[in-house]
C-alpha cells in the first residue's frame, strides 16, 4: 500500500488543503477569511502554510489593499493534484467505501 503524502497527512494541513480546494482553481483566499473558515490561530495557520508553501502546494501572494497588507493563498496546480491524490489514496485505504466530501 502506498504511503499517504506526509505534507498533507496532518490534521491542520489536510483541513487547509480541503478549504483551499473548495474555491475555483483560478481564485485565491485572503489569510483572515481562511483563518475564519478553519478556526485556527494565526500563528498556527502561518506555520502550516509555510510548510505547504515550501512544498509548492500553496502559492502565497502578498499585496496591499489601500495601506493594509493582505496575504492571499491559493493551491498551485501541483497542490490541487496532490490533494486529489491524497483523497483517492485515503479512500482506497478504507476499501474505496464512501465517495463524498470533496465534490
Amino acid at each position: 500500500m502506498e504511503e499517504l503524502d506526509p505534507l498533507i497527512h496532518a490534521q491542520a494541513r489536510l483541513r487547509i488543503m480541503s478549504t483551499l480546494a473548495a474555491i475555483d482553481a483560478d481564485s485565491s483566499m485572503s489569510f483572515p477569511r481562511l483563518q475564519e473558515m478553519l478556526d485556527m490561530t494565526a500563528g498556527n495557520l502561518s506555520t502550516h502554510l509555510r510548510k505547504l508553501e515550501d512544498g509548492a502546494y500553496v502559492l502565497v501572494t502578498k499585496t496591499h489593499r489601500g495601506r493594509t497588507p493582505v496575504t492571499y493563498l491559493e493551491l498551485t496546480t501541483l497542490g490541487r493534484r496532490a490533494f486529489e491524490d491524497y483523497m483517492t489514496g485515503l479512500r482506497a485505504m478504507l476499501g474505496g467505501a464512501s465517495g463524498t466530501g470533496t465534490s
Partner: protein
C-alpha cells in the same frame, strides 16, 4: 483529546471524517447566506402580496387599509433588496479571482435588472398607465427580471434546481396578470412567495442532510 497544533495525523478513517467535516463546514459558509436570501424573499413576497391583495374586498377574512398595504409592500421590497445585497456581497469576501468577479457581475446584474424594471414602469406611467394597470404590470415585470436572473444563475453555476426555480417564477409571473387585479397579487403571494419558501426549505433540508452525513 489533547489540544494540538494539528501537526499530527489520525488513522485514515478519522482523517477522512475530518476532511468531510471541514468540506461541509466550508460548504455551509457558502450556501447558508444564499438560503437566507431565498427565505427573505419568500417572506417578503408572501406577506407583501397578501397585504396588497387584502387591500381590496377580495379577502373574506380581513382588509388592509390600502395605504398600509402599499407602505408595507414597499418596505418589504426595499428591505429585501438591502438585506440580500449585504448578505450576498459578504459571501465572497476575502476571495479574489474569477469566482469573485463572477459573483460581483451577477450581483450587479440584479441591480441593473431591477432598476431597468422601475425605469420602464416610470416611462409607462408618464405615457398614461393607469394605477389599475400598474398593479398588473409591476409584479409581472419583476417576476420576469427575477426569473431570468435565476435562469442566468442556474446556467452559470450549472444549478438545475435554480434554473427550474427561474422557470417557475416566470410561469407564475406571466400567469398572474390573467387573473386581473387584485387576483394577481394572491397568485404572486401563494405561488411566487410560497415557491421561494418551498425552494429555501428544500435547500436547507439538503444542506442539513449533507452536514449530518459528514458529522456522522
Amino acid at each position: 483529546m489533547e489540544p494540538t497544533d494539528g501537526s499530527d495525523a489520525l488513522d485514515p478513517a478519522a482523517m477522512l471524517a475530518l476532511q468531510e467535516r471541514q468540506a461541509s463546514r466550508v460548504d455551509d459558509i457558502f450556501t447558508r447566506p444564499t438560503i437566507a436570501i431565498v427565505y427573505i424573499w419568500g417572506v417578503a413576497w408572501t406577506v407583501g402580496f397578501l397585504a396588497l391583495w387584502s387591500a381590496s374586498d377580495e379577502n373574506p377574512w380581513f382588509t388592509t387599509p390600502p395605504a398600509v398595504a402599499g407602505w408595507l409592500f414597499g418596505i418589504l421590497m426595499v428591505g429585501g433588496i438591502v438585506s440580500s445585497s449585504i448578505i450576498g456581497s459578504r459571501v465572497s469576501r476575502g476571495i479574489q479571482g474569477a469566482q469573485q468577479v463572477q459573483g460581483t457581475m451577477y450581483g450587479i446584474a440584479w441591480a441593473i435588472g431591477c432598476t431597468a424594471a422601475a425605469v420602464f414602469g416610470g416611462a409607462l406611467f408618464a405615457a398614461g398607465m393607469a394605477p389599475a394597470l400598474a398593479a398588473i404590470f409591476y409584479p409581472a415585470i419583476y417576476s420576469l427580471v427575477v426569473g431570468l436572473l435565476y435562469l442566468a444563475g442556474g446556467a452559470v453555476w450549472r444549478d438545475r434546481l435554480m434554473y427550474g426555480m427561474g422557470i417557475w417564477i416566470i410561469v407564475v409571473g406571466m400567469a398572474a396578470p390573467f387573473f386581473g387585479s387584485p387576483g394577481n397579487a394572491l397568485i404572486m403571494a401563494i405561488a411566487g412567495g410560497g415557491g421561494f419558501l418551498v425552494y429555501a426549505t428544500f435547500l436547507e433540508a439538503t444542506r442539513r442532510r449533507r452536514a449530518h452525513r459528514s458529522a456522522a
